[in-house]
Subunit: 96 residues, 10 copies
């Protein structure tokens, strides 16, 4: 199932510079893994904000929670999760 996930990263930017650089590198690496695994399906920035909006796919809330917990920045972010259901129009057109 898919989830709309908004991650507010403002507190990450309060870390000391070297810690921020290190965590950003590790976060990008973990993000690429989650993309390769098809968990992190789409990702956008929110203009003017330290926040991103993404579409995540996971078997259920436990699997999503595990994926979010694996993010190096997890202790410094606020996350909002909205569960999504298949729309009838997408169901008839599953390749989308």
């Amino acid at each position: 199932m898919d989830f709309l996930v908004r991650i507010d990263t403002a507190r990450v930017h309060e870390l000391p510079t070297d810690e921020l650089e290190d965590i950003t590198t590790r976060e990008r690496a973990r993000g690429r893994e989650l993309m390769a695994e098809g968990v992190l399906r789409h990702l956008w920035s929110v203009p003017g904000r330290s926040a991103n909006i993404g579409i995540w796919s996971a078997a259920d809330a436990d699997a999503l929670n595990e994926a979010l917990a694996s993010l190096p920045i997890r202790p410094y972010v606020d996350i909002d999760v909205t569960p999504l259901a298949t729309h009838p129009m997408t169901a008839e057109n599953p390749a989308t």
Copy 2:
């Protein structure tokens, strides 16, 4: 997975009396089926409100959506869904 579901039924009570009686009977019957199937796990009333709070179990958001769509009162209610993940303390004690 489990969901916390709050259903506000205020608009149901604006139906004409006979329609209200009929839909209540059918709603109770469907609710008992969902309970028997283990979908509707727990259900409470909100004191002083035309609303209930329940714990629903379904494979994913699509299965939950289907269960909610099967409620006779569905067109007259407002529903809020919160996805729930297994808590570590419950995981060690799964019989709960």
Copy 3:
């Protein structure tokens, strides 16, 4: 550019049955056109709600506004639009 668009369709369901059937048919047809044109990129239902969440692509806000105005149900829906910017991780991986 992409937009996160949430459309609340609760008022559509207050239309008389025949009008509702007719507008739903026309809405589906228009939706398929917008999908084929790559304007309506992804679409989900919000569990338990008469609402959908989609990712829309348009050159700018005017083009998006025109696409939304072309929806037959436009007079009966409430729409929230969030502009999205390209995320650095998506930029390095544009095929996603």
Copy 4:
């Protein structure tokens, strides 16, 4: 009577590492006691959040307040309490 209780634990994670480990161990022990006593009936994590949602049973608000005050993390959490009443469908099916 039952209560829906949401506990936000974000501030707990701001404690120094050793204090955090100690308080987590004591919290788990106290939680198991409350579960064994039938006070803490059900418990879930909120995906992506440092928060849990639980169903608590207590004779009244005083008894609930006492149970919550016994949590080692009590000084570092924000708690929302919603009182719950028995639903007619549960009343006819008390074993649930």
Copy 5:
């Protein structure tokens, strides 16, 4: 236990005049009974509003719910319930 209960009665005043008079008479009678029984302990008007704020005493949420359901105006009001716990200063001074 005590509850802080706010009842918004604005919709009652939309009833036809004779129905409004009848329901007001019956509501006053039921209110006096609940006061005599010690359920409705204190009651105030909210200045400038069609609303009242009261302190209600009941064994638990079920008993409160039953008392509120017995109000003739129940179908036409919106009710907010806040559970209250005994304050340490009141506990030492129970006659208050």
Copy 6:
């Protein structure tokens, strides 16, 4: 006239331990005086919260403000004040 007063005391608990003990002792003493004077009429705790809800009586907002300013914890609390008017049912039954 009566006021519904909610006092959030969360910041009081951030004081150093000895200062907290001292201020709590003085607060209790002042609270007992206000109760004896009939200013602080009723007082409850909010379950799970560092907050209390009370019914205060004072000639007007100036007298209430003076009473609240006399609380030793005043610099560390957030206070919400709702003015209350006599309800017609209480007016006919003034001994309540």
Copy 7:
């Protein structure tokens, strides 16, 4: 004591034209009386809104409630009341 009172009059304008004219005339007359009595001390319009903001003086909440209840438009308005206390700078300069 003084109160800041905001009155939203949007629903008044939904009355039939002749009823609206009649109630407006009576409202103006009652308003002038309350001004002459020193109850309605200051009155402004909120730009772009069917609403007014005023400073009202009354002995207490009961007296204010009575004054507001005397307004012909009372059944059709929403009213917010904020109690005001004397500011130290005004106290030293009472003629203001």
Copy 8:
């Protein structure tokens, strides 16, 4: 001085078709006059909404209120007004 004005026109679209056409024509004419007078300085649509956001210039709130009251759709719209002050960077560059 300038004002940021948001006008929600959703209720206008509930008018009967011929009334809607007539009021739209008159609204456009009045809008062009206010633009020519330099009162309505800039105007945009809110994508997906029956709402517009504009920059209005008027000597003060009374003059703005008069301009807004002159709009034919005034009885059917909700208006939010935010007063604006000259920014130091604009002050040094007044031709902007």
Copy 9:
């Protein structure tokens, strides 16, 4: 034109004692000047809050902004400004 101005002064009270005394003295002096100039027309305290509500008069938003910027406590306060228009009843009775 008049403005309803609410100033929240909670952060002022976090200043060191001597700085607080000094800024309070200077604030009172500046306040008296603004009152003498007819800019600060009326001022009240909000009961139980570190906040005041006032009626300010200034030619426009720039003049108001300048007056507010002249307050010694300006860097430590949060200010909400509501523009006010002349009410028809006040217009007919300008001496009020």
Copy 10:
């Protein structure tokens, strides 16, 4: 396309004095460049607040995001972005 952008600069004023002076100088310089480039079209202060409201023009959300990221104060501000569409009345009068 145009964007309504509100920038809250309160945290900038918590910087040490020399850092504040330096960043203000650089911010003004960057602001003048963005004005010269036609990106920052209009700018106002919010009376009584450390905040500004502006009209920004950019090809899309990415271009806007880049412009906002170029502001020296970017790490210390909170930004709200509202996308704007061309209004029919402006479309017929493009020189405005």
